[in-house]
């Protein structure tokens, strides 16, 4: 029969090691007797080192996070809250037809007499926020009606059937549209047209 193998002798330690163990045991203030004392010492020493490493890593992580993560992160959700204000701070290019109409009341009256009442100013005239900022020095460029009108009114089978369309080559033979039409009130024979404008764009 083979003898039963005994576990290694846990009391078998070098004198130096046992001295070190004693000092740790004093710190722990809970000296365990006999065989368990030496066993615990070994583990505690190991765990203290590990705990120290974890504590340093944790402190470093928290410190780094405080420095790196923007203050507004998490204000509304998992993103930088200040980004909302930054997006809102961008300057506008299109002033909006309300702004135009505040000054150009004559054009408003003219447009009300025709179907172009629903067409906002900057659809044809382009972005005019700079003009609205400084009307004296920034003037909108003169429009080429042959180009601008055709953008909407050039015939195309995909356009709604009720929308007024012409094949410009046949319709005007290259003449600018404003030769005959007043762009703000395009219908030619509408002098007697007193139909009030009923549909106003929101």
């Amino acid at each position: 029969m083979t003898p039963i193998t005994t576990p290694c002798d846990l009391n078998h330690r070098s004198p130096h090691e046992s001295q070190l163990s004693k000092s740790i045991a004093q710190i722990c203030a809970q000296p365990a007797p006999g065989i368990w004392r030496n066993h615990l010492f070994k583990d505690i020493e190991h765990l203290v080192r590990l705990a120290a490493v974890i504590a340093i890593a944790l402190i470093a992580f928290v410190a780094l996070r405080v420095v790196v993560v923007p203050k507004s992160f998490g204000q509304y959700g998992h993103y930088r809250g200040a980004a909302i204000a930054e997006a809102a701070a961008r300057p506008v290019a299109f002033a909006g037809h309300e702004t135009c109409e505040a000054c150009h009341t004559d054009v408003v009256d003219q447009k009300k007499q025709g179907r172009h009442v629903v067409v906002p100013c900057e659809a044809c005239h382009g972005a005019q926020a700079k003009h609205a900022d400084d009307p004296a020095s920034v003037k909108p460029p003169k429009l080429d009606t042959a180009v601008v009108c055709a953008r909407c009114h050039e015939a195309n089978s995909a356009k709604p059937k009720a929308f007024p369309q012409v094949a410009t080559a046949d319709h005007s033979q290259g003449l600018a549209c404003d030769t005959c039409h007043q762009p703000h009130r395009p219908k030619i024979d509408d002098q007697a047209d007193t139909k009030p404008a009923t549909k106003v764009k929101k």
């Binding site: 992160f73 509304y76 959700g77 998992h78 993103y79 930088r80 980004a83 909302i84 930054e86 997006a87 809102a88 701070a89 961008r90 300057p91 506008v92 290019a93 299109f94 002033a95 909006g96 037809h97 309300e98 702004t99 505040a102 629903v118 067409v119 906002p120 900057e122 659809a123 044809c124 382009g126 972005a127 926020a129 700079k130 609205a132 900022d133 400084d134 009307p135 953008r151 909407c152 050039e154 015939a155 195309n156 089978s157 995909a158 356009k159 709604p160 929308f163 094949a167 764009k201 929101k202």
Partner: protein, 234 residues
């Protein structure tokens, strides 16, 4: 007048529409848009205005227009074209038979947006007022969101190398203005909608019209509503 344009608008808006208060509160709005397809004439004004307002690089689009041609019963195989995003309008249509119409596209400002869910750094998000924005200073340019968007509404800006998309003109709507595309639309085919504002005409419109969102089966919570949309629209 030395005031900036938005401030000029404010004066007017404050006088005319008191509900457009300058004290913009994030929690009091829930933005979306209404696209009235039967009104769209494919003029490309919205695409040009968007590019100018938001400094969109040439060849990239935050909004674009598609022209559909559906031959008779083939609604599963529509022919779709969008030359330069419809920025210069569309050439005369060769197709005169079947169904032909324009569909403007833009970010659907999804409430459950797939693009924000995949962002690994929190650079894109849904604001408390329901707009999906990109934080340029946080974006890594990893392109996850570009792939995640089921509507193809995102791209990488070649100048900044960050993700970019329609911001629903956040800098305008927070000042009481409408978006650039809605502002210039000559037929009213595009309308900005505040779904939290009971005075907004969108509510009456949604009650009385047959309205759809794009790809409802994706359950993205899209807030761009399409009126009169054909089943062939993808």
């Amino acid at each position: 007048m030395l005031l900036p344009a938005a401030a000029v608008a404010w004066q007017y808006l404050q006088a005319g529409t008191p509900e457009a208060s300058p004290n913009y509160k994030l929690t009091e709005h829930w933005w979306g848009m209404l696209i009235d397809i039967p009104k769209c004439i494919g003029c490309g004004s919205c695409v040009r205005a968007c590019a100018e307002e938001n400094d969109v690089p040439e060849g990239y689009f935050r909004t674009w227009i598609e022209r559909y041609h559906v031959a008779d019963w083939k609604i599963e195989r529509p022919e779709v074209e969008s030359p330069n995003g419809g920025k210069q309008g569309f050439p005369p249509n060769q197709e005169t038979t079947g169904k032909n119409f324009f569909v403007p596209k833009l970010c659907n400002q999804c409430a459950e947006s797939p693009c924000t869910q995949v962002c690994p750094v929190g650079a894109t998000f849904v604001t408390p007022d329901g707009v999906v924005l990109v934080d340029k200073s946080y974006c890594l340019g990893c392109r996850y969101c570009v792939q995640a968007c089921p509507y193809g509404c995102r791209f990488i800006n070649p100048k900044t190398n960050t993700a970019e998309k329609c911001s629903l003109c956040y800098h305008r709507i927070t000042k009481g203005l409408t978006t650039a595309c809605c502002e210039v639309c000559p037929t009213g085919a595009r309308q900005l909608a505040d779904l939290k504002n009971p005075q907004d005409p969108i509510h009456e419109f949604l009650r009385t019209h047959t309205v759809q969102v794009l790809k409802p089966h994706m359950a993205t919570g899209a807030k761009v509503f399409y009126n009169g949309m054909d089943g062939s629209v993808r």
